[in-house]
């Protein structure tokens, strides 16, 4: 929450873009929106205990912030390059990579369900799909790539992925 108008946050370019969030400059009077959304103390007074929240603003950020979308795209790129070829094996690879275990039958059904739906929706709008898969796939493989961006984004938004029990 900024009150001093002392910082304008702009998207980093080049290598800086891929540094971990913990290296983000902490401007006490204008913390980065990511910090505010995820309960960083505002630095006005000492904070004995950080509050935790679970707001729709956090969900919007994790779903739609370009940084997290790019993470999903990068993960999709890895699936296409590193994971085995069948859809089923790719789901296993993703689950292992993201949460360190295999999926239950019910989970697998939900993931495969979204994969199928993403394929259909991506196929219906090829130009739009190109924007989602920009730089990670050849033109003829876009539909498949878009579906995996969707699945990667799903994984990165799982409670289990975010919360350390």
């Amino acid at each position: 929450m900024t009150y001093a108008n002392t910082a304008r946050w702009v998207e980093s370019k080049g290598k800086d873009r891929y540094r971990r969030g913990m290296y983000t400059w902490f401007q006490r009077t204008s913390p980065h929106p990511l910090m505010t959304t995820f309960d960083a103390a505002d630095g006005i007074v000492c904070t004995v205990k950080r509050d935790r929240s679970n707001t729709p603003l956090g969900a919007l950020m994790l779903l739609n912030d370009p940084a997290f979308v790019e993470c999903a795209q990068a993960l999709a790129k890895r699936i296409l390059a590193e994971a085995p070829k069948t859809t089923s094996e790719r789901v296993d690879w993703l689950m292992r990579t993201c949460v360190g275990r295999l999926s239950s039958p019910a989970e697998r059904m939900a993931i495969l369900g979204l994969h199928g739906e993403m394929l259909v929706l991506a196929k219906a709008k090829p130009e739009e799909t190109a924007k989602l898969t920009n730089g990670i796939s050849a033109a003829d493989a876009r539909t498949e790539a878009a579906a995996w961006v969707g699945i990667a984004r799903l994984m990165l938004n799982l409670d289990e992925f975010m919360v350390r029990e």
């Binding site: 205990k49 969900a59 739609n64």
Partner: protein
């Protein structure tokens, strides 16, 4: 069946025995079983409510009641004199040095307003035109004499950390009519408050019930648009699959916070379509925008505690947004502005803050009234305490230009939501030191506020660490004299 078991395990600390369940049922606490997949679904109140929504205007730092609401001519007579030792010997101050402290008269001119004849200083001309719609309480007192504990007490009912705020209790007790917006929204202007997020925390309640802080710079809510190339259909299917997976995780771990996570993603999706129209005020008439003073000129200032330039527009816009949220069913809107902590340079600082707040707050009351919303909307003007009749002499400074913290007697007001309009409640002594008639404690105030929402403050409880907590802790009397 599973749902019932979850309810017991998650709200009673995992005890979940049949005996306990029957006790809870006897006390009516299980009368409404919550649907964990829709934690903000509207719930019935204990009895017929007067108020459905609340706008809490919180002036952080403690505006001086002596210079705004509670004229004390006696202080001018005694200006520059010390108080007798007997009055101050058991009193703790934040900064005043007792040995050299002197009485500080107010230079303000007061006039009576409305049929109720409320005395208001020349700093609040617009509010004066609403005097007969407001229930003025001059006899508030608090237990805390420093900001953060005072703010916690005022917002959460206790000076201790970790308790839910008023808005969280109301969202928990009543749910929300606003399916597409949060139940409890926080808007800020000025500097940060010293209480920070603890002022709108859900404490030990699920985080679904915490205040949702909108940004006060740039776009109030970020990332309302889908990523490039991702259609609404894809977003909808993704969130549906996500909630299915999180739901499976919830069954496995029995972690009730996953319910909050699921609810937050569903609300996020609905907000993507609902929030832009809430935040775009271009459909308001010029008359309305002018009445709130959205585009007023901001005067050059010799005051720095209110957050620097740009606060006039922010504060006015927050007032207007509060009305727009109430119209859309939001249960509780908090408007914070910091700071009113006028230890020095009080005249200029207070004038500046009043110039900022007076017009939009009065416009909000009139606007709500015109739209027929004031009857069901409780508007609060509050802060953590008041300011001393003594001048603040930090460092032995003989020329006091401000006042210190004063918890023993201060003024706040309520309007709408079934409180008594044009009523002046309570009195303070000749120098505004203590309450002499009808004292109102913070617990009393909270009990009364909950009462207006049809809630018995003794029955709205949450079991945590082995005991039932409530907003009013173990005190609080509904103040019948304040309500219709």
């Amino acid at each position: 069946m599973l749902r019932r078991r979850r309810f017991l395990t998650s709200t009673t600390g995992g005890i979940g025995t049949l005996a306990l369940a029957s006790i809870l049922r006897d006390e009516g606490l299980l009368a409404q079983e919550r649907d964990p997949t829709n934690p903000l679904a509207p719930l019935p109140s204990h009895f017929a409510p007067k108020a459905k929504a609340c706008i809490c205007i919180y002036l952080e730092g403690a505006p001086s009641q002596i210079d705004l609401f509670d004229p004390k001519p006696k202080l001018r007579e005694l200006h520059g004199q010390p108080l007798p030792d007997s009055m101050t010997q058991n009193v703790r101050f934040a900064f005043i040095q007792k040995a050299t402290a002197k009485i500080l008269g107010s230079p303000r001119r007061f006039a009576k307003h409305g049929r109720c004849g409320m005395d208001l200083s020349d700093f609040l001309p617009h509010l004066g035109t609403c005097a007969d719609d407001i229930c003025w309480i001059r006899s508030m007192h608090s237990d805390a004499f420093n900001h953060h504990p005072g703010q916690l007490l005022m917002n959460c009912g206790s000076t201790m950390f970790g308790r839910p705020s008023m808005g969280s209790w109301l969202a928990y007790g009543l749910g929300s009519e606003a399916r597409n917006l949060p139940a409890y929204v926080v808007l800020t202007a000025g500097r940060g408050t010293s209480g920070g997020t603890s002022n709108w925390s859900s404490g030990f309640l699920p985080t679904t019930y915490s205040g949702v802080l909108f940004r006060n710079q740039g776009e109030p809510v970020l990332h309302l648009n889908n990523p490039a190339g991702l259609s609404d259909g894809m977003q909808e299917r993704t969130i549906s699959a996500l909630n299915r997976l999180n739901g499976l995780r919830r069954e496995e771990t029995a972690d009730p916070e996953i319910d909050s996570r699921i609810a937050s993603y569903e609300l996020a999706f609905r907000m993507q379509s609902a929030a832009p129209s809430l935040l775009d005020v271009s459909d308001e008439t010029k008359r309305t925008l002018d009445e709130y003073g959205i585009d007023r000129d901001e005067p050059e200032i010799q005051a720095h505690r209110g957050g620097g330039r740009g606060q006039f527009r922010k504060f006015a816009l927050n007032c207007l947004l509060a009305r727009r949220m109430i119209e859309r069913g939001v249960r509780f809107v908090s408007l914070f502005h910091a700071s009113w902590d006028h230890h020095s340079n009080l005249n200029a600082e207070l004038q500046h803050n009043c110039l900022m707040a007076d017009q939009p707050v009065a416009a909000l009351l009139k606007d709500l009234k015109r739209r027929g919303l004031l009857d069901s909307t409780l508007v609060l003007w509050m802060s953590e305490f008041g300011r001393t009749p003594l001048g603040e002499n930090r460092g032995g400074n003989p020329n006091a230009t401000g006042r210190d913290h004063h918890p023993f007697a201060f003024t706040l007001w309520m309007a709408g939501g079934g409180v008594k309009p044009g009523h002046i409640h309570g009195e303070t002594d000749d120098i505004g030191w203590g309450v002499t008639r009808d004292p109102v404690s913070v617990n009393d105030l909270h009990a009364t506020i909950l009462h207006q929402f049809g809630i018995d403050h003794r029955r709205l409880t949450f079991r945590f660490q082995g005991r039932d907590f409530r907003l009013t802790d173990v005190a609080g009397q509904v103040q019948q004299a304040l309500i219709r």
